[in-house]
Symmetry: C2
């Protein structure tokens, strides 16, 4: 019996567990699955990005064998430019995923140094004592894979992000048969996507969206403007197909949409009959009912083409009555308000807007409860660890597994940084790593001190008041009248009086020292207390108060 | 034919049109419908509340006849304490609504001065040349009404917030027959709730929730902890009924939930069989499977009872395995993240959590498309103006009316501040008032200068750097080395060096003036540009830079 234990460590995902990165470790080998990023939550003021904390990996450099990427979404590849300079590892990914990684690394001027290796579903490759066998899964980007990892103590299956679609646009369904065959080989551990564990039933096929889009394009009296995620290549394909069928031409607008369409075409993931895709300059050659515009902006991004159009801020396209706009995407959590505002503006401009609540113009890329049960039933793992989802999703996914008859003691809900340790008989949470993730704020990467975030939060609430006190170096006494400036606290008119009274108050407070030399801590506390109380009484606001002395 | 035109002016609602306040004006009379508030959106940093702009009303004081309130939700009554001191008008409302208004005015020490009049569905009262006839509607709070307003030029129907529920908990369905009879009398204008105009079909009856709650309570192995909106009295009733049926006792926790339960009981809106409602102190007398806890916290409010319980921060109640928590509410837009975090924490503590995605433990209080069509078909108005909803909801509601055969030219989608003017033949948007709403930030009420909000936004992003330059009063020259302090920009360790270099840079920049007296505008611009660029190069952050001089 092997002496070592297998370790599974979810290393990244803000709230979502194991989403951005997960490590699989055995004896002297570690492989890393995915290297993605998250966008900051509301309370992380000023933070640009959040990436996984790779401290555990840095301490075990000599064990690292490579990074295997399951698919090309930001939350699975976005951290590469930030971690590769620290961890110069080979990257294994399918062709389209590699294309997307290359674009990203090029932007960060790291492409030449990167070691990129193409893998494909059905292939096999070795990384130390592991053998990795990628298999096709359906997800909202082509060329997605799950991983069968053969380890010295048994098979680990990592589902990647997946759903089961019997009629996918790219013709590559999730490889159920391969997984079923594994089931007979006694899979030791299944790690599976929990994102939609809340949803009963099955996630509809992409083909349902295709039908809806075709109907909309067929019936629209004028132009059809469609927005979706630029990485959702299959949706772009559906738009092209529907347009072609109804003798319309497709014009792509928005930088990221154009880039993806070009790359996906070059790599063979996007096929357009001749004459359907047209250059934007040709737009005015065609009548409105022959036009489909495909654009960025599905998340209401303020600088995107669609949002500029909605705000009459795009010099080339204006909404005219008769336009139909299709939001072929749902808002990512946190983007709801931006998307709603965009839809409102489009209606205001006279467009008819069709979005997911009104018609099936989008389906998501993750399996619902019946699909999750199917996977569990086919793979028949000994141990099960739900991943990719927030804690409640994992809990519900674990409930599903138990309802299917798995022993409670073989199902583990873990969190980022938990170290799951298993051998062929037992599995347990053996430890917890300290940090969860790393903030990227400008050029700084690291545990962005919580004091900075707290200060930004305070500043955002009621602004700041700066008190400047000049002190005579020799005598240690106040010189002149203290000065006060403020930002974000009160406006010029209403504020002048209050700030002026504040100056007097500080002067009076300092006078009370009766000519004795002033101590900094005394000034600081006294001024803050007195002014804070005064401002609160006057305005019910609590600005941050910063006292500083100038020695003269 | 009457010489005057009828004016309809939606005056308040942040994004939602006519939600918080709407004015109906004819000749020398104005009545105001509702006086509610909104909570600020994300980008309104530090703002406490948003209330309607009553400038239009203040300019026409002599015309104002009273405020009629449709129901007791915050977004319909919450602005009263802020506007009554300026507009001392009589308030007309049903009994429960009046109870809720009284609680609110008492808190603001305005109850004694307020002129409150009770109205009831089926009654009639005159306000100037208007006669107002309230009618019962179903909504997520009892005692809700819509208004039939008889004006000198015809009938205006205002739906209030409504849905159609044939089996409501309080036994008071929406009065369809009364509305149908109106239809024969030729209604001039219908103003109707559009909140759920996106949803096809019918909104389910509250009784569906009752059945789900009863099943959960019957099957739960241990305690059942239920949270809902404290104003949702019918839900509280359903919990009491289900608990009574299964020999459980109900314990109410959370201040607002206790207050509402007490007041609703006193006014006869809540009925509990003897012995079912118990004092909290008796909790430990009962086994877990005899207990139902009813608590605040359905929106994940950080100081609510449920959130404290979820965070192991409540001294009296801790989650134990076997607990079932029911979130009998959906998150109000903007609260999703807070609610999700609460659910995650409850799962982490070992509870089973049931929420709206998993079972029908909540239905909302607004009519879906079939109900909206029913109302339109019964009332048969000449003109139709959708209200209560964001622009897209109104547009979709307008589409419904047109699909039912209403002439396009008789359907108006308007915005807050629009002045709709109509006579018996024609209707048009005749003007637009300048402002939309008023911010309440501490004690200040008014058009919170956009510069303050912009500053707070800047401050929240990358913090602030304050540069203090001492200048010799007589010579107009810099004295000593400039000082720099910062907050929310860089942390102590990483930052010390950068700030120190910044000081040198400022000193060098100022030195270049070569001994000439310095002008303030020169210092200001020069320092900001130089430092801004330096900090951006070093950190990729752009803190607000505030330069101030001290004359010594």
């Amino acid at each position: 019996m092997p002496r070592h234990k297998l370790r599974i460590i979810p290393l990244g995902g803000l709230g979502e567990i194991g989403k951005n990165m997960l490590a699989i470790e055995y004896a002297n080998d570690i492989i890393v699955v995915d290297a993605g990023l998250m966008f900051p939550k509301e309370d992380m003021l000023g933070v640009d990005l959040v990436i996984p904390d790779i401290g555990y990996l840095l301490e075990r450099r000599q064990k690292l064998r490579g990074i295997v990427i399951t698919h090309g979404h930001e939350d699975h590849i976005g951290a590469l430019p930030y971690i590769l300079p620290q961890l110069d590892l080979p990257i294994y990914s399918t062709k389209l995923t590699q294309g997307l990684i290359s674009v990203k690394l090029k932007e960060h001027r790291y492409l030449k140094k990167a070691k990129l290796t193409t893998i494909q579903a059905g292939g096999k490759f070795s990384l130390g004592s592991f053998t990795v066998e990628p298999f096709s899964v359906c997800h909202s980007i082509p060329d997605s894979v799950g991983l069968i990892v053969h380890t010295p103590i048994g098979i680990v299956v990592h589902s990647g992000d997946f759903k089961i679609d019997y009629t996918p646009v790219d013709g590559k369904p999730t490889e159920l048969a391969k997984l079923a065959q594994l089931g007979d080989q006694k899979v030791l551990l299944l790690l599976a996507d929990s994102t939609y564990a809340e949803l009963p039933g099955y996630t509809p096929s992409e083909s349902v969206v295709g039908e809806t889009l075709e109907r909309i394009i067929a019936e629209a009296p004028g132009r059809v403007i469609i927005t979706t995620f630029s990485s959702l290549v299959s949706r772009i394909q559906q738009v092209i197909d529907a347009a072609a069928k109804h003798q319309r031409h497709v014009f792509v607008i928005g930088r990221s949409m154009r880039n993806t369409a070009r790359m996906a075409s070059e790599l063979g993931y996007l096929n357009s009959p001749p004459g359907v895709l047209r250059r934007f300059e040709e737009l005015h050659h065609f009548p409105h009912n022959k036009v489909v515009l495909l654009t960025t902006g599905s998340q209401g991004e303020p600088t995107s083409a669609l949002v500029r159009i909605a705000n009459r801020d795009n010099s080339q396209v204006r909404i005219i009555p008769g336009d139909t706009v299709v939001m072929s995407a749902t808002p990512v959590p946190g983007n709801e308000a931006l998307v709603n505002r965009t839809v409102d503006s489009l209606f205001r401009q006279g467009a008819q807007v069709i979005y997911a609540k009104l018609a099936q113009v989008h389906v998501h890329g993750h399996g619902s409860q019946e699909e999750l049960k199917l996977l569990l039933s086919l793979v028949k793992p000994k141990f099960f660890v739900p991943i990719h989802g927030e804690y409640r999703h994992l809990s519900l996914h674990a409930n599903l597994a138990k309802a299917l008859g798995m022993p409670k003691t073989n199902v583990f809900v873990i969190e980022n940084g938990n170290i799951l340790e298993l051998d062929q008989e037992k599995c347990r949470i053996a430890g917890k790593l300290p940090a969860g993730h790393v903030y990227v704020d400008g050029l700084v990467m690291g545990d962005l001190a919580s004091v900075i975030l707290r200060d930004r939060k305070l500043l955002s609430r009621d602004g700041i008041v700066v008190v400047i006190i000049a002190i005579d170096k020799k005598m240690g006494k106040v010189v002149g009248r203290p000065d006060i400036v403020s930002r974000g606290f009160v406006d010029k008119q209403e504020g002048e009086n209050i700030l002026d009274q504040g100056r007097d108050l500080v002067a009076t407070t300092l006078d009370r020292s009766g000519g004795r030399p002033l101590e900094w801590s005394f000034i600081n506390t006294k001024v803050k207390d007195t002014l804070g109380q005064f401002f609160y009484e006057q305005t019910r606001r609590r600005p941050m108060i910063l006292t500083t002395t100038v020695e003269v």
